[in-house]
Each structure stands twice: as structure tokens, then as C-alpha cells.
Amino acid sequence: MDKFQVFFDQTKKGFYHYLLSLTRDSALADDIFQETYFKILKKYKDKLSPMLLYKIGKNLFIDEYNRNKKHINTENITLSYEQTGSDNSMEADALLALLDDEEKKLFLMSAVDGLKYDEISAITGISVSNIKVKIFRARKKIQNTLKGG
């Protein structure tokens, strides 16, 4: 398997959920997903990095948002947030949307993509102890929401 394939398999799940939580629209998330990996493959094949992946993905999302604001259904975001309460039927992307961007990335890299804290630290430049705290906070937010707190 080539390096890109390995990178894709390692990151696809976390990155896809990141996009879902940004866009709240699976068709748009799919589009950005394809476009980001396409860019990586075309331009950054020799320096594959999850950080770069998330950065390109977020920029594409912002571009899309600016290009056609009608595409992004922001009403949904407030709605499901209000609906939380004791409702644990919330979707994963709605839960992830509760986290700030950095918490989200770190949490997805660790819990979903299975990267080690020191690997994440090397990629992001954030210290391991800081990563521990941020991932813990992300978990706590998710837990509180699931509990209805």
C-alpha cells in the first residue's frame, strides 16, 4: 500500500467527522472530503500531515461558506444545540460541534484516528500535557451533553 493510501486510511474517519461537524451537511462534507484529499495528493504527497489535512479542509469549508452562504444551514446548528437537554440521540457531528476547533481536531486525532499524544504533539506543536487537558475537556463536554448537563 502506498504512503498516501496509508495516510488516507489513518485519517479518513476523524477528518470526515470533522467536516460533518463543520458543515452539518453530508453532501457538502463529502465534496470537501474528496477535494481536500485530492489537493493533498496533488500538492503535498511528500509531506502528508493530519494538520495540513484539517487546515485545507477548513479553508475549503470557509471558501464554500463565503461563496454561497445559502448552502450552509446554520439554523440547524442552534436548533440541535437547544435540543440537547437529556437527549442522547444527538448525532456525533452535533456533539462534535460543541467543541472548539482545536479541541475537535485533537480529540478526533486521538480518539478516532488513534494517534498517540506525542505523535499529535509532533504534528501540532502543542505540548503533550496541554493535549491531555484539551482532549479531557472535549470528552467532558461531550459527556455533559450526553448526560443532559
Binding site: 470526515y16 465534496d31 477535494e35 484529499y37 485530492f38 442522547n88 480518539a111 478516532v112 482532549i135
Partner: protein
Amino acid sequence: MKEILISQFIDDELTLPEKREFVVNVKVDDTFYSETIEMLDSEILFRDKLNKKTPPQFHVEKYRGSRKFIHLAVAALFFIGLAFLGSKITANKPEAVSKNNIQKEYRFVIYNDSASNVELSGTFTNWHKIPMKRINNSNYWEITVPLTKGEHKYAIIADGQVLADPTSTFIEQDDFGNINSVLEV
């Protein structure tokens, strides 16, 4: 700070002294114990939610060019789907694979203890259903089909219900809401 241990425990990031501290805390501190259980439960629930959505596959060839191409592909899939619906009524004969491509015999095996009729349907059969054979009165069903090199999508149909192959690592949702398995030969 102690609570962070739980998060590290979930991520399998504890050093030996931390592991020791964790175990001692779980044993002697009831609050810590219930906090651990709650966080684990929430993690189980959350990961379960995450697993409900599978990331799409990435195809350079499919994507190359612009998004318009994707729309064309979606339109094409729609017509293939129509053809599939139409073909259900007509023949049940699998389409022969192209003679020029390299063929490989591929054996599909699936375990199903409740169905009385298991079928296989995929891009290689032009989505016609072909019956799978029960192996010696067991609950395993098998079929061997010739496949060309490349990517194939397929689904298992147990008593009329379309299922993704549980043994396949790659699954994806098609435009009709079905979950298909993806196989690379």
C-alpha cells in the same frame, strides 16, 4: 488533574506509575470510580454514534477535473439504478465479465443463521442477484465468482434484505441509501 487520568486511560496513554495511580484511585475513591464508569459509558455511546457514519471512499479518477464530473457520475449512477430496477423484472443471468481483463476467482463467504435464501449482487453481476450456496447444512453461505482486477461494489441479500458484508473493511453508502461493500481485487 486526577480526572485527566481517566481520559488518558481511555486513550491508552498511561505510564506504569500512572496506571498504578489509576487503579488505586478506582479502588479507594468511589467518586473517581463512578466518574470513570460515566466517562467510559459516554465514550462507548459517542464512538457508537461515530461508527454510524462511514467516510466516503476517495477516487482520484472519479474526482479528477471538477465537481461537474461528480454530478455527471451521480446522474450516471441514477441511470444505472434505473436499469437495475428494470432488470429486476427481466433476466436473472449475471453479465459476463470482459474477456480482455485479468480474471480472478473470488470466493464470498458469509455467516447467516436466520435467512433461508442468501444472494449476492454487485457491480460484477450488473447488480443482478445471484444465489449463494449453503455450505453442508451449516449457516455459512458461499459463492465463487470470477472478478476482473479493480474495484467492485457488492451487497449481500438475505431473505430480500440488503446487507453490507460484515467481513469487508470498506463499506459505502450508494445514492439509493443502500450500504454496499467495496472490494479491491
